[in-house]
């Protein structure tokens, strides 16, 4: 009886949490489907009385939302992949070789996080300009990788340290070479960490605004955060309907990416458990 009660309470708490998490998304959907009159009602309704797609038509008609979303997707996926590809070997080295140099290196990585972005943005712009990377998605990707890298390195170092060194030693005793031990023993255990870092890199890049604002100058290359802000006017006055419709679009790729990644996260965890 007590077990049933506990289980019911647990499900109730879980349901509450899911509702809490889903609230912004549901509200966004509700707003995107409302007429201006309903949006300005003193008592807002959850379900639009006269649902309309006019906000979507306005948002998509005025701005190249699909193109911007595709460009954001390219930059975010590239940022996530390149960051992990570069950070993983470095994180492994820093985790396994714990000398003074490693401590200094990781300290420097942390220090690099304290510099405010505005301090570096103009010099960075000038460097990119010299490299002919201003106004290109490649330039934005380079910048995103640079700024996501330190935290990604820190995250991955933690995951590597969590893998017992003894497992590699055991693999070596069984005759596996270093690369084989890394591929067969360490990599599966690191998968959840890699996936989490990919997700972090993707979301950081997907949401990034300031660098994109400065680096991308032509409408043909602008990313989604730049497009979304077009619906906001002076003094924070916004065109809520089109903004909600466009923001809804902006959340979909993140959700899809998370859904894909999340399956990998689970399978990685299980793979790690079996190998362990």
């Amino acid at each position: 009886m007590r077990t049933d009660m506990t289980r019911a309470l647990r499900y109730l708490a879980l349901l509450g949490y899911v509702v809490f998490l889903a609230f912004p998304l549901l509200w966004l959907l509700s707003t995107a489907l409302k007429t201006p009159q309903e949006m300005a009602a003193l008592d807002p309704a959850w379900i639009p009385r006269r649902p309309t797609l006019a906000n979507f038509a306005d948002a998509f008609g005025e701005q190249d939302l699909v193109g911007a979303a595709l460009r954001s997707l390219v930059v975010a996926v590239a940022t996530a992949l390149i960051t992990v590809a570069l950070a993983l070997p470095a994180a492994y080295a820093l985790a396994r070789h714990r000398g003074a140099a490693g401590r200094v290196a990781i300290g420097w990585v942390l220090v690099s996080q304290v510099f405010p972005v505005v301090l570096v943005i103009i010099p960075l712009f000038m460097v990119l300009r010299r490299l002919e990377l201003v106004n290109t998605l490649a330039g934005l990707t380079v910048v995103h990788v640079t700024f996501v890298m330190p935290f990604a390195l820190w995250m991955l170092r933690g995951y590597v340290r969590a893998v017992p060194r003894e497992l590699e030693e055991a693999a070596a005793v069984d005759g596996a070479g270093r690369l084989r031990a890394l591929a067969a023993v360490v990599a599966p255990l690191l998968a959840p960490g890699v996936v989490a870092t990919l997700l972090f890199g993707f979301i950081s890049s997907w949401n990034e605004f300031l660098f994109a604002l400065v680096i991308l100058k032509d409408p043909e290359v602008e990313t989604l955060p730049l497009t979304l802000v077009r619906f906001v006017g002076p003094e924070g006055v916004a065109r809520l309907g089109p903004l909600a419709a466009a923001s809804l679009l902006a959340t979909v790729p993140s959700l899809v990416f998370f859904a894909i990644i999340q399956r990998r996260l689970r399978s990685g965890l299980m793979a790690g458990a079996v190998k362990g």
Partner: protein, 437 residues
């Protein structure tokens, strides 16, 4: 695993395609040599649907008529345009034609980022815009002279937007541009309109400073005075009058809703439509949201600016400027002259629900119709004079660090008017002192 791999492969291909799509460094606006058309980049801050359409239409018409000077329309946003411009200016890669508002031009001008347009604006455009509007874009050049750093084209005045049925129900006089309400009459009306659960007026004061400073001119309040080249803050009886009257409505008459104080300009609209507030003091542009969002059958009316000693209000302008680093300043000016001609200004004003500076545009029938209060809004332009704070070096810091928090505390009834005045002056002068060194 295969599917995951496929996603990565697609991403890699897309990256390769995407990285190549940007092209150029954004710094080359086109040379105009070898028969190639000159290319101008035009950073526009239009954001309302009709305004974007008007901007794009005018640019398209220009491009079609001027194959040798092609303009690329780039939409920016008010929220972060100055961050974007500062980095562009510092890096030497600004847009050729820049849309902004006049308060932002002062610091850009003194740092040499903008082209001085003195003597360069075609006479037809120059003469079509009154001197009062040109005064809003005339600033120090950062050395010893003055220059004109933009062409002013849209302005905003503060009007009252009212619930017509509530006004009629209370039997109050509906003011006209020739016979506006005085502040005293406004206070009486607001009291009459205040009933259980409903207030006569809502003052959204999330950003109170510009609103107060612009309205203070009704009583001759300037808040700043310059003697021997040194600017100081003043908060005497003239400056205190509007502050006191708003505070009285909130706490003495109780005809204004204190819960509206933390709101932004458009936030009280739901309450306004529901009859919770009878009158909203607002910029003329808010009429657009009222027209779009009002429930069917809701009757509203635009009322002219209030009168103190005068109906004068501080004006700032939306402007088009030319970057000092533009490689094609002459072509940029030609484009501006076309973009801001009388008929085009009328289109832009309609799109943004603001007032054109062009006297030709102001005569456009669409801007003098009674529909949506255009007649009252357009007539209010005659009360606009250059805002005194516009010329004050250090105003932005005074506003954000001193005036905004102090006024918010005063309107929340946490400090007295005397204390507010002391803070505005003493802390404000310390700020301005740094800018005069």
């Amino acid at each position: 695993m295969r599917r995951f791999g496929a996603v990565l492969a697609v991403a890699a291909v897309a990256l390769a395609a995407g990285c190549g799509s940007g092209g150029g460094d954004g710094g080359d606006a086109g040379s105009g040599e070898n028969g190639q058309p000159v290319k101008l980049r035009f950073l526009s801050l239009a954001w309302q649907k009709e305004s974007i359409e008007a901007n794009k239409q005018i640019v398209a018409e220009w491009n079609s008529a001027n194959p040798k000077i092609q303009v690329e329309y780039v939409q920016g946003s008010w929220d972060n345009v100055n961050d974007q411009l500062v980095t562009s200016f510092e890096a030497g890669d600004p847009p050729d034609v820049i849309h902004d508002d006049s308060p932002a031009l002062s610091s850009f001008a003194s740092r040499g980022f903008l082209l001085d347009l003195t003597g360069k604006v075609p006479a037809e455009l120059k003469n079509d815009i009154p001197q009062a509007a040109w005064d809003t874009v005339t600033f120090s050049d950062g050395k010893s002279g003055q220059g004109v750093y933009g062409v002013p084209f849209l302005q905003e005045s503060q009007v009252l937007i009212a619930n017509r049925k509530l006004l009629d129900g209370a039997g109050v006089r509906v003011p006209t541009p020739d016979a506006p309400w005085t502040w005293d009459e406004f206070a009486d009306v607001a009291k009459k309109l205040t009933k259980k659960g409903a207030y006569g007026v809502a003052w959204p004061m999330k950003s109170p400073v510009n609103k107060v400073l612009n309205l203070a001119l009704n009583f001759g309040g300037t808040f700043f005075e310059t003697r021997d080249g040194k600017t100081t803050v003043k908060a005497g009886p003239q400056e205190r009058e509007v502050l006191r009257r708003i505070h009285d409505q909130l706490y003495t008459d109780k005809s204004a809703d204190p819960s509206a104080l933390g709101m932004g300009t458009a936030d009280p609209l739901p309450g306004f439509f529901a009859g919770k507030y009878a009158i909203l003091p607002a910029g003329v542009y808010l009429r657009q949201q009222v027209a779009e969002q009002a429930p069917s059958g809701f009757e509203w009316v635009t009322l002219p600016p209030l009168k103190g000693v005068t109906s004068q209000q501080g004006a700032v302008s939306q402007t088009l400027s030319v970057a000092a680093d533009s490689e094609h300043p002459d072509e940029a000016l030609k484009f501006i002259a076309y973009f801001l001609n009388g008929p085009n200004q009328a289109k832009l004003a309609k799109g943004d629900w603001l007032l054109p500076t062009s006297t030709t545009a102001a005569k456009d029938p669409a801007l003098t119709t009674e529909e949506n209060g255009w007649d009252v809004a357009t007539a209010s332009a005659k009360n606009l004079v250059v805002a005194p704070f516009l010329k004050v070096n250090g105003y932005d810091e005074w506003k954000s660090k001193v005036a905004t928090p102090a006024m918010q505390e005063y309107f929340a009834d946490k400090i007295s008017l005397d204390e507010l005045a002391t803070r505005l002056v003493e802390e404000g002068n310390k700020v301005l002192e740094r800018y005069s060194r």
